[in-house]
Symmetry: D2
Subunit: 346 residues, 4 copies
């Protein structure tokens, strides 16, 4: 199958190429870049030498649609929406790694993301929120997959078993997330400089990060009711990894052994979810470079508080790995194709 990547020199583009270059059914045929369009991708990232030497081109949507059966889009909504319209009615597919297709309600999308151009058919696109552990059955029939955000992936996977089992008191969810710096992308800006991030830890966008409405949308559906969350992201001096520590109140007293069974059962068919035994906690290095999500928990009896900890590699399960997983579902091939990666440790 012929695929293209729009915005190939960002970190999610690069990670897509790393993963796809080992995929048995995929040919990468089209890569675009705004900043490096006179080079091959391996000029920009010598790590890809031996694996991908495709030239980078300036964006041309027609060419993309013409050449590719499936397009991975990392560009903003002005391109995403155009692309969506262009493929409507065809057999082509889009996996969008931005936020453009993650929302059920266009008004909420607009309110948080201020798209440069309006789109009229938002609710009509044949699209789905691409978290396979929730929507696998629908993903296979979709044309456009809105690949989830990195924080939401870690959070939704951590909360789903207890939300679906109605164990959580309404509106008691507090999420404290910590991310490596690669989550801020490849663009040079002050906040991403080595000397600013190294030996430093800082919260940002406290209680107003744009991943909040995305998480609330999906949690509300799990809960079958409106869910409000508190969310604080932090920037951690490491390149890869997200750890979300999630606090929520339970009505009942529950043991971690019972919780372990609930989680194990809930995810028993999921090959990318690792549930840790009681007393163990996840760490981002345990999943480094891989598509796994590692989940542990603790229960504080004094306050009936459940503490769920969920670790992913933000560039893999939090972005490009999940995108490949979605592609595999679209293709009807084993979901772990090209994703059975042993984490790099240490």
């Amino acid at each position: 199958m012929n695929v293209g990547i729009l915005g190939a020199t960002g970190y999610t583009g690069l990670e897509l190429i790393r993963l796809l270059s080992k995929h048995p059914y995929v040919n990468i045929v089209y890569l675009t870049s705004r900043s490096f369009d006179e080079n091959t991708i391996s000029d920009v990232y010598p790590s890809l030498e031996n694996f991908c030497k495709i030239p980078l081109e300036k964006l041309n949507l027609e060419k993309a649609v013409g050449l590719c059966d499936l397009i991975f889009n990392t560009l903003p909504s002005e391109y995403a929406f155009k692309l969506a319209k262009m493929i409507t009615g065809s057999q082509k597919k889009i996996i969008d790694l931005g936020s453009s297709f993650r929302f059920d309600d266009y008004e909420i999308y607009k309110q948080w993301y201020f798209p440069k151009e309006e789109v009229t058919l938002y609710e009509k696109f044949n699209r789905i929120y691409g978290l396979p552990e929730i929507y696998r059955d629908k993903i296979q029939y979709a044309q456009i997959v809105g690949n989830p955000g990195c924080y939401p992936t870690s959070v939704l996977l951590g909360l789903m078993p207890v939300m679906k089992n109605k164990l959580i008191k309404d509106n008691t969810i507090i999420i404290d997330s910590k991310s490596g710096v690669s989550g801020s992308g490849h663009e040079p800006k002050y906040g991403n400089l080595f000397s600013e991030c190294n030996e430093n830890l800082k919260p940002y966008n406290v209680a107003k990060h744009r991943h909040v409405p995305e998480m609330e949308q999906e949690l509300s559906k799990m809960q079958e009711g409106s869910v409000n969350i508190v969310f604080t992201p932090h920037l951690v001096p490491m390149t890869r990894g997200i750890l979300s520590t999630i606090y929520c109140k339970c009505d009942i007293n529950i043991t971690i052994e019972e919780l372990y069974i609930i989680y194990k059962n809930y995810y028993k068919e999921e090959q990318f979810i690792r549930i840790l035994k009681p007393g163990l906690y996840p760490s981002t290095k345990d999943v480094y470079g891989s598509n796994f999500c590692e989940i542990g928990f603790e229960f504080d009896k004094k306050t009936n508080t459940l503490i769920i900890m969920s670790a992913i590699d933000n560039l893999v399960k939090g972005a490009s790995g999940q995108a490949v997983q979605n592609m595999n579902i679209l293709l009807g091939i084993p979901e772990n194709t090209a994703l059975e990666i042993v984490p790099v440790y240490p």
Copy 2:
């Protein structure tokens, strides 16, 4: 004044020497070390060359008490309690950087710390919990100062203004703390190895860290009622720094502008507390190597949740800087003597 440091080659001992070597009224006359007692301190830490060349000795409590007017103790309770008895009735002072004298109630201390040897006079010692911003007036008359833990320092300073102003709903405090690796000390163990910590983020001792009863004791006194907290510490790939992100529910809706005024007023006399303007958040690098505590906050209206963020250098305000601050109070000299340090940035 002649001072000694018991356990001088740990990181808090080293940091005490860094700070005291610039103190105009202090002579360091006695340093002990179990592992390095055939060296001078500058053999172990060449950074101290030019500043301190005192030989390291094996511990001798009698010698310590004989030579020193004030002893900084970093050793466990079996030494701390002996020392306390030895100086009772004298003019000598102890500043204890361990946990031995932090608790009002010996039973709680025992339950969490399992001292090797019992002590009979625990409640009788003339001692005080050494957080100057709370107990300044009592510290000056105490003989023994129980220097606060690193996490409690960051948390109590962050919460005090709102606790004292009765703004927090009972038992809604959730504390998510992140610490640099130097907080785990200088002892070689797997969990402290570079290759294990670098590019890694991991929670530990979730909901059962030994700093919990210390925080609950002090918060209960602030609140004038029993307070239970949820506390999750995390290990961050950096050497120095603690950031505590504290979540609590308010009965009322409050603006961050009002909170800013409450915090500014509460700490208006405090030279080591920095309150950030609304919209700004603390970062550990802003206080690197200094005795400052930087505090910011945000209010989430949807859920009436107050989010307080508090950053310190765990080895300075979280340990040795605070110990020097306490010493200055004991001595009746300006509290910032030897502590007016500009943070090292970047």
Copy 3:
């Protein structure tokens, strides 16, 4: 094929498991550990969950030889030499990741490594120095492969084309190498602690590192004469990676374009060697997690000095990846089996 790893919980053992668990012809059947023998390997390294759940056992050489067709040994010479005798005359193979079988001359080995037990048949073992790019033809017929050291791998690959082409003046080779901390192993010791290594750079074992005689042995054979080198290793605050910067004098003036052709030709059949175009230099991240060696160079005309820079991942091409490469040669299967790994970047 059944393989075992003696010393499986060290970092080279762990990396062998990462690589071998994706190898189509290999079953890992035996893992030993001195410190963790009551656990499975995935208890010690949760990153291996989903990939390897073999129990760790206390070392039993008879069992090892009984179960395994090929043994990867990471233990010191007292075990390596016993093992070598036990398999003599059989079809079994050893790939030794320590220093025990790297030397042609037992006296030189003894002088630098002080083996606990003498061995009598050292020169008689059917063994080879396992750098495939030099000894591929002999490796396939050997019974014991002495897998090269990490520093020597980076250095020998960098120097070979110019040594073989007689471009270097006698005894002018100066090697300045920089290694990530994982090269110091998994054992807890002061020098490996995060707080000691982070934000720090330090030389060690200057001009007396035990990799010197190994490099001099192989360089002397390339040069067909006795070669002495100057070698300074440094510890860099990163987990993985070695960069060797090699300085040597040339008799002649040469352009980097000519050098580029020499290197490209010399390594034209080698799939793990990447020669960079003139003007580009290697970086350790370009080969992170992979078996590649990336080589660049510069020529300083004023002083007729050739500067060669060579980057590897110390745990892959510098240890376990090369061991797997050697195993593939022993097995007569494609040398890149299980080694076509795209580097993890960023």
Copy 4:
């Protein structure tokens, strides 16, 4: 004394403010910034809150000269040269932290730095190369101090004792330097991003870095003859610190004990130079945040090669600390005023 800093929000500007804010004889009265001229300096760097709240202004050379007795300039030559002309004939002083006044020969300067505007009086300015350990006597009478580059400082201090003692063979000096990322400045660019630098080590500007002519100029004067060097700088994943490993050939066999005495004697009056005992090597963390230069060495008898290792904090002794040291000399006050800083370790 009133001082100003032109380019105050770069890292050397920031470090100047950190140091000067504790200087008893200095008032900072003027700070300029191109990018942040609507803020106070503590808005840009909250670490300076409590210490410096001066507004940042757009550059105005007249105002600078009008307000300040001494100007620290971090801006390029088009400003430096103008400034130099403006103060000629006055009592005002300039300490220039760029390259504009480091060269004896304007032609060499031009050839390496391509100044935007020519200057006619370059050789006429009353200026000096500001390495106090060489030029202390001249610095006090100069009007303009060309503060040395960071690499040259580490290299010249390491080589001076053996150059002056004629121990080095002509043209055998090879310098392998490693720098933290703060040396690349505060400007956002790809090469300085956290995700590009972390877990990475890379050489750059091999054999053609612009510090080469500066080092050759000063080494030639030490040697009393023309010196050519080979120089390779590397970028290390740490914020602060330079370690230079210097290789040179000796005519004679010398012991490290003899070298130790030569170095100790040579620097016996120097309070910022630390000579390590034989067998010990410098590390950048030993001088972190301080104005010290730590020097160690080794001698390889087989090849008569002297290996000198020299560590500094690139922002202190390599830039702003040295600038303050030069200012102290100009003022005729103790050279260590405001510079007796204990390194921050760990």
